[in-house]
């Protein structure tokens, strides 16, 4: 199935905020053998509507099928494939590193360079909080690795179409 046209695609899916809806979306990806790279779920400004950001590796044809299949779920309200639409994507990570007093100065420097925040300090460890693109978070992780990372939690990508662009209307014929 691996084709040169395959790349990471991000879908923003608006769904009913009801019990079991995430299960329905996840079940679709599982049973159609679409592999999820990242998944983030949360509430929106609208009561009763949740926002799901799904990232998966797919070619254009698969992406279209994913979209069409998502629309078949009764609880799905809207699907946007962000591949060809200007959008903003962020990831948040909490990184716990070993850090005695001798490393503190270096840590503070890193914090500043990456515009991260140290949100917890204990005698032997620190927790960095960082928000940004996946690349930025990856490089912070690389930089901190020599210190000794003892914990890492990432939200996965959260995406939104830019205010200046309208999402391309979906499912108009076939390409």
């Amino acid at each position: 199935m691996t084709e040169p046209s395959q790349h990471s695609r991000t879908f923003v899916v608006l769904v009913d905020d009801k019990p079991g809806v995430l299960d329905r979306v996840a079940s679709l990806f599982r049973r159609r053998a679409y592999n999820i790279e990242s998944l983030a779920v949360g509430r929106t400004d609208k009561p009763g509507v949740s926002h799901i950001t799904v990232v998966m590796n797919a070619d254009a044809r698969t992406a279209r099928l994913v979209e069409a299949n998502l629309y078949k779920l009764v609880n799905v309200l809207d699907v946007q494939d962000l591949s060809n639409v200007p959008s903003v994507t962020r990831d948040l990570a909490l990184i716990k590193v070993q850090a005695g007093h001798d490393k503190r100065a270096e840590d503070l420097q890193i914090e500043e360079v990456f515009r991260a925040r140290i949100v917890d300090v204990s005698p032997n460890a620190l927790i960095f909080e960082i928000t940004g693109t996946e690349d930025k978070i990856d490089s912070l992780v690389d930089v901190l690795r020599p210190f000794g990372i003892v914990g890492l939690a990432r939200t996965g990508r959260v995406s939104m179409v830019r205010a200046t662009s309208e999402a391309v209307p979906s499912l108009e014929g076939v390409g």
């Binding site: 099928l65 078949k72 009764v74 499912l171 014929g173």
Partner: protein
């Protein structure tokens, strides 16, 4: 005016509001309140012998009538016994509403007696499902369920209702406001550019073919397809589930395509320059190797489900929408052209096929399934509604019973469910009591749901059952013959005496061992008031020809040998 009603009473009120007259089910602890209220409803309940039978009956009811079928079961094992029937309905897009009882809401999640998470279990095999824990949600949920089951591409919907929701009483007032599903894919008018492109492609086609699927039945588009074919003279090939969507005896109906389709049909598909697919989904049994499928043909796909477009076969034009309205747009724009060279080409493809037909073989004293089904077709004048399971008998029925009308063949296509035919036929008979209903079934599949003979008796349902009895799981044996060096692992079957089995149920049984006995047996069955079981003891190691080996190119077919030799041909 609002009335005080229990949830149990509201279930039947809401079903009556949907026009339901018959339901198929089996009681148990968690659904008992609903069953108690059943006695005060005008809905007729058919008591099945196993919940799988209830789901298949509801499915057969839906397929025969065009309406929604309803199955009812209790929690736990009652609900899980529905699963095969729900999966069957899902793959063949049959609209079902299944209602299951659930343990009281307070004990959900505690592994209570007969508790199963049935909405979890059926999530991937239903179009949608609901867990209802509040009495006031029962009626709106039932209305939504019927809407979802029948809109767009139909499918099964399950509603799991807790026992306390059935027991509690509320002020109830029926609601008939329209149902809105905000996120649903809406099939608007077709894109004019796509229609234009389809018209252009068809205008320059020299070797076009129509691929006719079950969507024709779902959209009641039979007469429109007939108009299309009469106007354009484009030959038609049908899928298994498309049988009846276009008259089998029409001169432009070539027959069934696919794994056990006619060889010339598959060869014609491979030689076509345009394929016009109507409400079919390029299933692997139809396509064989997708990389080598009709590579020279431009493809136009009409389907209501956008997720079927480009799923298996990349198409050139997709017209997504209800088939009837799509054809109303497309057909008037098509031009009449001379396709006679193509018609002659197809006629030549038929070649020696007639010679290979078992009908042409001299009577060797053996009874062949093809004889049984061909005679059944002749004696019922092609007008019977026939239900089949899956396997050899299913393919022989598809090849030899020429259905001229929609909704006259009810078979488990996508899931290939053994045990489907008898209960599905019973459901069809309940829906259409004036139809002559036949079950054509193998000895293996029949035994999977044979307990429903009791239901036939109890309900005075008249169906005729033709068991194609070869003492084998025939299709599996055939695969073992072709692909496993004739090592018949677990396929020979020792069967009960089916005549005595019928008699034990208070029904009539007949045994047929010779071709000359078929006519009398079919006549006797038709004359009998109750259900009749005919045990056709057919040739044990007969084979369904032709056959495309799984995953092969469809024109590479194993043909019935003209001598004793099986040979593989390439055209």
């Amino acid at each position: 005016m609002a009335k005080r009603r229990t949830g149990a009473q509201i279930i039947w009120d809401a079903l009556e509001q949907q026009g339901v007259e018959h339901v198929f089910g089996y009681p148990g602890g968690a659904i008992l309140p609903a069953y108690d209220a059943l006695l005060d409803s005008r809905i007729h309940h058919v008591l099945v012998r196993h919940e799988q039978g209830a789901a298949h009956m509801a499915d057969g009811y839906a397929r025969a009538s065009g309406g929604v079928g309803v199955a009812i079961a209790t929690s736990g094992p009652g609900a899980t016994n529905l699963v095969t029937g729900i999966a069957t309905a899902r793959l063949d897009s049959s609209p079902l509403v299944c209602i299951t009882g659930q343990v009281p809401s307070k004990v959900i999640g505690t592994d209570a007696f007969q508790e199963t998470d049935i909405t979890g279990v059926t999530l991937p095999i239903t179009k949608h499902n609901f867990l209802v824990t509040k009495t006031e949600d029962i009626a709106p949920t039932i209305r939504r369920a019927f809407h979802i089951a029948s809109e767009g591409r139909p499918g099964p919907v399950l509603i799991d209702i807790t026992k306390d929701a059935q027991q509690n009483e509320i002020d109830y007032e029926p609601d008939d406001s329209p149902i809105e599903l905000p996120g649903r894919f809406r099939t608007g008018p077709l894109n004019p550019d796509d229609v234009e492109r389809a018209v252009e492609i068809l205008a320059s086609a020299k070797r076009p073919l129509i691929l006719a699927g079950r969507g024709i039945m779902m959209s009641s588009a039979g007469s429109r397809v007939l108009d299309l074919v009469e106007k354009t003279r484009i030959p038609v090939a049908t899928t298994l589930l498309g049988i009846g969507g276009f008259p089998a005896t029409h001169p432009l109906n070539m027959g069934m395509m696919g794994m056990h389709g006619e060889a010339w049909v598959n060869q014609a598909i491979q030689n076509a320059d345009v394929l016009l697919a109507l409400g079919m989904r390029f299933d692997d049994r139809v396509v064989g190797d997708p990389k080598k499928y009709a590579t020279g043909a431009l493809k136009i796909h009409l389907d209501i489900d956008p997720s079927e477009i480009n799923k298996i076969i990349q198409v050139d034009v997709a017209l997504v929408g209800d088939l009837s309205s799509s054809l109303d747009t497309l057909t008037p724009k098509l031009e009449i052209q001379d396709l006679s060279p193509w018609h002659h080409f197809i006629k030549d493809l038929k070649g020696d096929s007639a010679v290979r037909d078992i009908q042409a073989l001299p009577d060797s004293g053996h009874l062949y399934a093809a004889h049984v089904i061909n005679d059944l077709w002749r004696l019922t004048e092609g007008k019977a509604l026939v239900a089949t399971d899956v396997g050899q008998h299913q393919m022989w029925e598809a090849q030899y019973y020429k259905h001229d009308h929609p909704r006259k063949l009810i078979t488990s296509g996508g899931l290939g469910t053994m045990g489907f035919a008898l209960p599905a036929a019973m459901g069809a008979k309940v829906a259409c009591p004036d139809e002559e209903v036949w079950v054509v079934v193998g000895d293996g599949g029949f035994q999977m749901t044979a307990a429903e003979l009791s239901t036939c008796k109890q309900e005075n349902l008249k169906v005729n059952i033709a068991i194609i009895n070869n003492g084998y799981l025939g299709m599996v044996r055939q695969w073992q013959e072709f692909f496993y060096d004739k090592r018949y692992a677990a396929t020979p079957m020792q069967n009960p005496d089916f005549v005595k089995l019928a008699e034990a149920h208070g029904l009539h049984g007949i045994r047929v061992e010779k071709r000359s006995e078929i006519e009398a047996a079919v006549g006797a069955a038709r004359a009998e008031e109750g259900t009749v079981v005919i045990d056709f003891k057919v040739e044990r190691e007969d084979t369904v020809y032709p056959m495309v080996a799984p995953g092969s190119t469809i024109e590479t077919m194993i043909r019935r040998p003209t001598d004793t030799l099986v040979k593989t041909e390439k055209s």
